[in-house]
Subunit: 166 residues, 2 copies
């Protein structure tokens, strides 16, 4: 398979559900779930995927892969946490090729097709493409090499989004 | 936006690059990067996305979101780490709707469009849809509520994939 050939071939995803959230405008939103521990939201799964939820109640945290449908695509961004520009793959900015989001949320309760969670940093209506259980043995890495985040990370919980990525 | 309306509307993604790996067959592969710390691989970025890599060398770990192109789609699976069936969203099985993979790899070196890494659990040619820097303050959660993984997690480093997801 040549790289050029694959570029031409789009990969079709479809929503498995949608986020229900009090946020309808990116401006003023938390920029990360880690800065929004008390923000409630829910995932409303589409009925045809219900069988995939079996046993999910056993997990504290879920990883949501989402489509950041209101973001634009950029290769260089000034992220919310900094005032200088970086390559977008060195940031967590929503304005990125494919506009895929990653939110680690705390599962509070399942109610049929609804997953109620805390840690909401997503807009209402955000399409959810995948749900994976968070397992520390698989997902935790310890490192202090965090690039440009190093000088800004302590401000993260208080920073909110503005209009620059939309 | 109604959920039904969005289902009908596919979300088009395209590769930003591809994984280069010694693995060409799922059978015998590591099932998680956390069980493959010494496995080398690389991401070959497509040239049009190069600007997005600026400053990425500052990070130890990267999160790759991939398209598991050789997996099938299932809603219920017997995962590699267990012998009973679970809803796929309560597992990390590749055989899932949208077939999105999440690999946390250790960046060893950037060489132009190539990102050399350790922690390879991916097939050669796997399309990469996104690269995000791993930042513990954003990505680490501590929990012991890990569902069915609880009884199996110690075996994870030694378990290898078989043909059941392909």
């Amino acid at each position: 398979m040549s790289a050029a050939g694959s570029t031409a071939q789009a990969i079709a995803c479809r929503p498995i559900g949608h986020v229900r959230s009090r946020f309808t405008d990116p401006v003023g939103m938390p920029i990360q779930t880690a800065g929004a521990a008390d923000e409630a939201g829910s995932v409303e799964l589409l009925p045809e995927f219900e069988a995939g939820l079996r046993d999910i109640e056993g997990f504290d945290y879920l990883i949501l892969i989402t489509h950041l449908h209101q973001a634009v695509e950029k290769l260089e961004v000034v992220p919310f946490m900094d005032d200088s520009s970086h390559g977008v793959f060195a940031t967590r900015a929503p304005a990125r090729p494919n506009r895929l989001g990653l939110s680690i949320v705390r599962l509070v309760r399942r109610e049929g097709l609804l997953l109620h969670f805390l840690g909401n940093d997503m807009l209402d209506g955000t399409p959810v493409l995948d749900i994976k259980p968070y397992v520390p043995r698989l997902d935790v890495r310890q490192t202090e090499r965090i690039g440009w985040f190093g000088k800004r990370i302590d401000q993260m919980p208080d920073i909110r989004a503005d209009a620059r990525m939309a």
